[in-house]
């Protein structure tokens, strides 16, 4: 389902809440030329870091790669293209893609190197920068539990970008620890409604 050259979004912050099994499978199948949209890239050879070690990545869009020194090294050697986006802008841009908003204004990064060549506009005397939504072909997300419809609940800080990315891709694959019958999740506690989820993969 993930073809060479695909734009993929992967949930997680550090090693909390990333779809370990899906990422391992992606590393094992060796599909390349990927654009990976994620907060960070794990650690060298660990988690998403494996995809870089395997040279499956063409471009990265994210915000923090200092936990994986292989990223700056590959970038400075010209092997990959890296686009840094402030973390809050990154989160909101993914949410925007999921909810049909093509772009939005934010004060973060105004005047800095990361706002270079971006449009700005004043509102009430303050300058804001225009940021585009970030969409992907496929989102790989991790949740704690799903029901058979694909409603998702999360655990602690493993939630992070997962509910946003689940909304922002053409195809969403959710890796979960457990799948329960429809009706057994408390409807008040469902974080990602099943409308956003296409495929469930259970860890065994």
């Amino acid at each position: 389902m993930i073809r060479p050259g695909a734009r993929i979004m992967v949930g997680g912050f550090g090693l909390a809440g990333y779809p370990e099994l899906l990422v391992e499978n992606l590393a094992a199948c060796g599909v390349g030329d990927l654009t990976v949209i994620s907060n960070d890239l794990g650690s060298p050879g660990v988690g998403l870091g494996k995809l870089l070690t395997n040279k499956q990545i063409r471009a990265l869009i994210g915000n923090y790669y200092n936990w994986n020194p292989e990223v700056p090294e590959a970038c400075f050697r010209g092997e990959i293209e890296v686009t840094l986006v402030p973390q809050g802008t990154f989160a909101e841009a993914i949410r925007a893609a999921g909810v049909g908003i093509p772009a939005f204004y934010t004060a973060a990064s105004v005047g800095t190197d990361l706002a270079r060549d971006k449009e700005t506009k004043e509102f009430d005397g303050k300058t804001f920068v225009l940021e585009r939504a970030i969409h992907a072909d496929v989102a790989l997300v991790k949740a704690h539990r799903a029901d058979e419809l694909g409603n998702l609940v999360y655990t602690k800080t493993a939630r992070n970008f997962n509910p946003l990315m689940a909304m922002a891709a053409t195809l969403t694959i959710a890796e979960v620890d457990d799948i329960v019958p429809v009706g057994s999740l408390d409807p008040e506690c469902i974080v990602t409604p099943h409308i956003f989820v296409d495929i469930l993969v259970r860890r065994d």
Binding site: F13, G88, D113
Partner: protein
């Protein structure tokens, strides 16, 4: 180079002073702490109605987790395992930065490579270095209601970090409200740097010599408690 306050003592002093700033406010607060010295601030806060927000999606961060408390799904924004406080809650990253961007977070404490006399902050990258990451720093300095910079007064090789104009890439322009170092406490008032407190070990002349930025001295200058 003369060491006035050894590095470890300096870090503790800075963290304690920032913690006192929050303890003395007579209201409940939500604060966000960056990595390094800012993280240490939590250990010195005495009040129980100051809540720590972590931008990776948690409000009510407790002390670092040890032993059996460690859960890899429960970390702060510096990837350290942490614990929950009563009433703690979790949310996605867009909601988390909505709190920050929306002005709901009372204060952020951040480290810095340089701060200039107009309060512009450089803390995210050294050009041609081996680093590639911005994290939430730009969102935090532009969104939090109060921006407190907690940093050592000079670099390891004795260069000033409080400068006339930042030479490193800027994180946010004119965003700092307060700067705490081991040698002094400054406030930014009307885009001017104002010295409020000075460490007991040094004279005003020494502080001026160690600080590139120009500042004015508050009429009611106090000695920093150490």
């Amino acid at each position: 180079m003369q060491v006035i306050v050894p590095a470890e003592e300096a870090k503790v002093r800075i963290a304690r002073r920032v913690a006192r700033e929050f303890d003395e406010q007579k209201r409940s607060m939500v604060i966000n702490l960056g990595v390094g010295i800012p993280t240490m601030v939590a250990g010195y806060i005495e009040r129980h109605d100051i809540y720590i927000q972590a931008e990776n999606g948690m409000l009510g961060v407790g002390p670092l987790a040890v032993g059996k408390e460690v859960n890899r799904q429960l970390i702060n924004a510096g990837r350290q395992p942490v614990t929950e406080t009563p009433g703690c809650c979790y949310f996605d990253s867009a909601t988390s930065f909505g709190m920050i961007r929306g002005g709901h977070v009372d204060a952020t404490v951040i480290g810095a490579l340089q701060v200039d006399q107009e309060g512009s902050i450089a803390n995210w990258i050294i050009p041609n270095g081996r680093q590639l990451g911005v994290g939430g720093a730009m969102d935090l300095v532009s969104g939090a209601r109060q921006v407190v910079v907690a940093m050592q007064h000079n670099t390891r090789d004795g260069k000033p970090k409080l400068v006339k104009s930042c030479t490193l890439p800027i994180t946010g322009f004119c965003e700092a409200d307060m700067i705490v170092t081991e040698l002094a406490v400054f406030h930014l008032g009307g885009s001017r740097l104002v010295l409020k407190e000075i460490a007991p070990e040094i004279s005003l002349d020494t502080l001026v010599r160690l600080t590139e930025a120009e500042f004015i001295v508050c009429a009611n200058l106090k000695t920093m408690s150490v």
